[in-house]
Amino acid sequence: MLPSPIDLVTSAQWIVFAPALVAAFIILWPGWPNLHTSRVGKTVASTLSIGAVLYGFCHSLLLLHAFLTDPQTVQHLAPVEWTFFQSGQTGQLGAVQFGLGVLVDNLSVMMLLVVTSVSLVVQIYTHGYMREDPGYSRFYAYLSMFTASMLGLVVSTNLFEMFFFWELVGVCSYFLIGFWFFKESASKACIKAFVVNRIGDCGFLIGLLMLFGATQSLWAGHNILSFVGPGPTLKGVLEQALTQSPKLLSYENPLLSLSPTNLALISVLIFFGPMAKSAQFPLHVWLPDAMEGPTPISALIHAATMVAAGVYLVARAYPIWQVVPHGEVSYGLQFIAFIGTFTAFMAATIAMSQFDIKRALAWSTVSQLGYMFAGLAAGTFTGGMFHLFNHAFFKAMLFLCSGAVIHGMHGEQDMRKMGGLWKHMPGTAICFLIGTLSISGFPGLSGFFSKDDIIGAAWNYNHLMGAVLLFTAFLTAFYMFRMFFMTFTGEYRGGEVHPHNCPPAMVWPLGALAIPSVLSGWLGVPLGSAMDWFAGKSEAPNPFSAFVYYVQPHFEAANPGMMLAGTSCAFVGIVLAWLVYEKKTVSINTVIAGSTNALLSGVYKFSFNKWYFDEAYFWALDRLMWLYKAAWSLIDMFIVDGIVNGSGLVTETCGQLLKYTENGRAQSYALVIFSFVTVLTLVVYFFHP
């Protein structure tokens, strides 16, 4: 009897990312004639890439079906692992095993769906956006490579494997930001992204090695650093290491034993990776510059998927931050809570004054990622992941809309030269409005549910944190509607540039993403008792929380007070943006930007110049490089030159002294020879053993 499709996808989980990887290698294979230049070649490239990700999406849907309909079967779905290094016998204390594997569980299935669905829609859109670009096939190859790397990261069984794919998605990001490498701004942006991410990855790797060193003895050589499965789990190992006396561990080095202080240090170091990848303060500076890449890549990598990898890592390895000895607080989670909340607020204030449509959206992404981290740190694991899920769809749609606007405006990205585009591209305008309403937390749309969940949890965790996130919700509504009004309403300010609508290949994907942007938030509501839930009376299970959770699912009734506060903030932001940018009752230039009050105009410049982070970093880097240069200059002057000049001086001095012995008289030479032989004879006579 033939196996059912469900049996096939669950027994061969690795196939989920293999086609995308194969497609990338086929397209990049140097032997193909005209693959990058002919119409047929380009069609083959895009078909391979889109076909691979379409398969991945179907596979993910079947996995979701399997997980939702038959959890008992999936419970025994052991991670697949291929070992490539083993020391000691499996099961013995101290044995070490490194391997690559595939781990499919609830959390990874959710991420697989996000990555494959957004990637599929973006790749279709790419056909419309990049069709005139000579690098069309190369772009599809990079897209496939990125998708495969991201899927590999999602299904990694251990942190070392995850780090490997983490670096691969970083490389793909570098290639894609610098896709138009002939532009100086693009080449500088990709280098900046690469360098900033390496700083974060350096901390990640040090933390990872410290964690492995401190817990190596407890893995018993099986399924290293995996989170579920038949072997030891991360949570179990950490708890065991913390309760066990350090003397029982293999190492006597205090840095390699797992004290609570060491675990806090490790958790902060590992968080450097997510901090860079998900553009959190202070490693956030690369993401807005990454908008130099083509817009499809901004939507896929720098809005929906890759930047969410940092959030996914924190969720995947949540025990690293969450496990603490009984009665102690988690400094790791407190650190994440501070970074996430501060980044959410800071990025929102910057987004309020940007004029480049893509960069404003990039700052909005930085802010929303801060919300996700704040949610995870505040204890709402499911809320943080729910916001990641919802945000991926509406932010990808918003970026694709901005790409449609840029395409329709013949490359113009400055919102001051737009306006009134609603009548030229109504489909794009409607989708942008849906995304704007969703991210602003408009009741009923997806962002409303997940953001309120996070703000409520943050308020319970720390009132100041909740208040900052609530205020940021107001800023979010303001800057998003500022973008909407400046771009789609009012008078057209583009001068001689005539805007046009986009081809169907670019408009249809927007419609596909609009569906989850409207509806996905309702997955967080128990539909059978929705009214009771909204009233705060029902704690019935909702579909998303029943699927994505940490240890055990947790259901709460809605918090009507917090929902009201969040909605009020959103409405105030929308109304203020409408008054300033549509009704023009208030002028920002008169009141703030061009104000004679130095404080007000200074605040505006501070926001417009992105809190001067780039300037501060370059200032500090210049000083650092000057110190480095001065130190090497001194070393060169006194040590290197000293050795070279000193050896010459010694030779010259010796020559000067010895020249007096070279007098040309045979008697003198005979005297020297005789003296030497006499001394040698005496030495041998007296000191011979």
Binding site: L68, P71, P134, Q413, R416, Q552
Partner: protein, 84 residues
């Protein structure tokens, strides 16, 4: 300095937006620009499939027996991260 609207940038504010980036900055390949080809229509069909897949994803979540159960018994669910 314009006082009328923020759409006119303050003169003393450094503007780094729009430094040469943009969709039109690359050379154009005019061999592949037919927007009404059969391939484009095929991709529109795939796009419809993607939308249908997203609807199906939400339907699978909503119709899941996990949340349909009255007993709310989650003890038999696969633990996401817990030690086994």
């Amino acid at each position: 300095m314009s006082k009328s609207d923020e759409t006119h940038q303050s003169a003393d504010v450094h503007d780094d937006a729009g430094h040469g980036h943009g969709h039109d900055a690359h050379p154009v390949d005019v061999d592949f620009v037919d927007e009404t080809s059969g391939y484009d229509r095929l991709l529109q069909l795939v796009c419809v499939l993607a939308g249908a897949g997203l609807v199906m994803m939400m339907w699978l979540f909503v119709s899941s027996p996990i949340t349909a159960t009255e007993e709310h018994n989650f003890e038999n669910l696969p633990p996401a991260h817990s030690a086994q």
